[in-house]
């Protein structure tokens, strides 16, 4: 399992999700803290490409040995890509939560929502 880390340059949602915005598309995932709290992730239920996600609302579930948890969308938009590889290797969420463990890419419907998200330091402060 990866060491605790919260990269600079990502935007964070207080429900332990991250977003990386690239133009009008953002990549979503869960933070190191979230995967650590869940424990070994054994299943990722991919949402359908084309479905709509709403900031602050759950868009999918991850299942660990201990629990099934909702994953909250940090921003709103339409799912344009899902990380199909997680179907076979859900443990990538534990091993590389900001890289191979990414979950979906979303075309943002309201980019201004990013102002409500936290930067690295603000998010880390919520964890203590």
């Amino acid at each position: 399992m990866a060491d605790a880390s919260y990269p600079e340059g990502l935007l964070y949602h207080p429900e332990h999700d991250w977003a990386q915005i690239d133009g009008d598309v953002a990549t979503f995932g869960i933070t190191w803290f979230a995967q650590d709290a869940l424990g070994e992730v054994v299943f990722f239920e991919a949402p359908a490409v084309g479905s709509t996600v709403t900031a602050g609302e759950p868009y999918t579930e991850v299942e660990s040995v201990k629990a099934v948890s909702d994953v909250i969308a940090p921003l709103s938009g339409e799912v344009v890509e899902v990380n199909e590889a997680l179907g076979d290797t859900p443990e990538a969420v534990n091993e590389d939560p900001y890289g191979a463990g990414w979950m979906v890419k979303v075309r943002l419907s309201d980019p201004a929502e990013k102002d409500a998200l936290l930067d690295r330091d603000a998010y880390v402060a919520t964890l203590s």
Binding site: E45, E61, E63, S64, V65, K66, A67, V68
Partner: protein, 466 residues
């Protein structure tokens, strides 16, 4: 003897005072007088314990069990021989008494039973995953419907008329709750009409349901039925009689996604209709959407073999609002009977039992259809059960024939007219290995007399001059 539950006037006063009212009338003042009970209940006086016992005994003696008559009654529950070994193991207190036999780390034996049961069921069905059982057959069918709805979100169930009426009703009830439309496909010559079946399946079909052998005992072309759903999103659900799986092609080889059914025939007594267990097996794709629980094999920290409940995270007690079913228990004790029975019978035994049932069913059908006034309802290949048509006046006529046969000590079967849409003059006859050739021959005589007597009465009554 005094009233069993005693509340003294002082008790009453104290209780009323505690809640701040002065009398019973005041307590019920909120209920309009017109709907309040005026005076006592019309109940007989109390009886001494010995008299109650005698009365209950008298009532119990009115029951006729499968041991009191020669029974050809089936329609879902069957009079198979239950070896003494099963009672011996099922009545061991380790299995019989635990309230939650599945608590991990506590009951390794209970978990191992579930694991062995699941293994046996996956071998029998040819499907890779089995849960640790559900209540009974019909709720297994309904749970398969819910699984399909969760899996593809489509809005329609396609249901063969060959599905057991109880399963169809349970499924229909569930469908109402989820706003799912149910499309019925009729039988043709005793089996699911292939054209109507294919025509009913479309892009919005969530699941298709058939039974094999179907409710009329006919062997369906399961592969063809499953193939018809191949290009749709539909989950293919087959209800099976596990006893026939020694000789029928396993559901897993026919393209069935979910095989469900009633497990009573495997080592469980009739017990006047229950309890029994339902089995639920599926392809790997539906593993996480299966209802109930699954026991898995693992290793402890010292590398020793152990058993745990797995995929627990989906269970109702953890995530009620997102549970994949409302089934929060398994029928562990009854499923134990099932796995002990399968172990007792063995790999070859289940094949031989199936072959024996096949032969006896066909012998019985030929013998009974030769009775005057009796014919077969269809001519499909049958196993364990078959449908006859009696030349009598509707369901009432069939019921009278059944009563006459029962009076002679032979229960000839289940009147199909009892179910909505069922053939009014149909009689469903079931065989187990307990029914001998001699009993079949004797049933033919008893049935011949009963049908002749019924037809004579009917003739007499119609000939009464106006």
């Amino acid at each position: 003897m005094s009233s069993y539950i005693s509340t003294t006037p002082d008790d009453l006063r104290e209780m009323l005072a505690a809640i701040g009212v002065g009398s019973i009338d005041e307590l019920f003042a909120g209920i309009p007088e017109g709907v309040r009970l005026d005076g006592g209940l019309d109940l007989p006086a109390g009886l001494p314990e010995q008299d109650v016992y005698a009365h209950l005994l008298e009532l119990a003696r009115k029951n006729v069990s499968a041991e009191d008559e020669v029974t050809f009654l089936g329609a879902g529950m069957y009079d198979h021989y239950v070896p003494a070994l099963i009672d011996m193991l099922m009545s061991r207190s380790e299995f019989l008494t635990p309230y939650t036999p599945y608590q991990p780390e506590i009951s390794q034996g209970g978990l191992q039973v579930m694991f062995e049961y699941q293994t046996a069921m996956t071998e029998l069905t040819g499907l890779p995953v089995s849960n640790a059982s559900v209540y009974e057959g019909p709720s297994a069918v309904a749970a398969a419907g819910y699984l399909a709805k969760l899996a593809n979100g489509k809005g329609r169930f396609v249901v063969s008329a060959g599905l057991h009426p109880h399963s169809a009703q349970t499924l229909r009830t569930l469908a109402v709750g989820y706003g799912i439309e149910v499309v019925d496909v009729p039988l043709k010559d005793g089996v699911t009409d292939p054209q109507a079946w294919a025509a009913a399946i479309d892009e919005d079909t969530s699941a298709v349901f058939f039974q094999n052998p179907n409710f009329l005992g006919a062997v369906e072309d399961a592969k063809a039925l499953a193939d018809a759903a191949k290009n749709s999103p539909a989950v293919v659900v087959g209800q099976y009689d596990p006893i026939t799986l020694g000789i029928l092609a396993p559901p897993g080889e026919c393209g069935v996604d979910v095989a469900v059914g009633e497990g009573q025939a495997l080592g469980n007594r009739l017990d006047f209709g229950g309890p029994s267990f339902g089995f639920f097996c599926a392809t790997e794709a539906y593993l996480r959407r299966m209802p109930g629980r699954i026991a898995g094999e693992t290793k402890d920290v010292d590398g020793r073999r152990g058993f745990v409940l797995t995929l627990q995270t989906r269970e109702q007690h953890i995530r009620r609002e997102k549970a994949t079913s409302n089934i929060c228990t398994s029928q562990a004790l009854n499923a134990l009977g099932g796995v002990v029975y399968l172990s007792w019978l063995g790999r070859q035994g289940i094949v031989e039992l199936g072959e024996l049932l096949l032969q006896r069913t066909h012998y019985a059908r030929t013998t009974l259809a030769a009775v005057d006034g009796v014919s077969t309802l269809h001519d499909q290949p049958v196993v364990r059960e078959f449908a006859l048509d009696l030349d009598v006046d509707g369901l009432a006529g069939v019921e009278r024939v059944v009563s006459r046969c029962c009076a002679a000590g032979y229960n000839p079967g289940y009147p199909l007219g009892r179910d909505e849409g069922g053939h009014p003059t149909g009689l469903l006859v079931a065989l187990t290995e307990q029914r001998t050739r001699e009993q079949v021959d004797r049933l033919a005589e008893v049935l011949a007399e009963a049908v002749a007597a019924e037809r004579a009465t009917a003739t007499t009554s119609t000939e009464v001059p106006a």
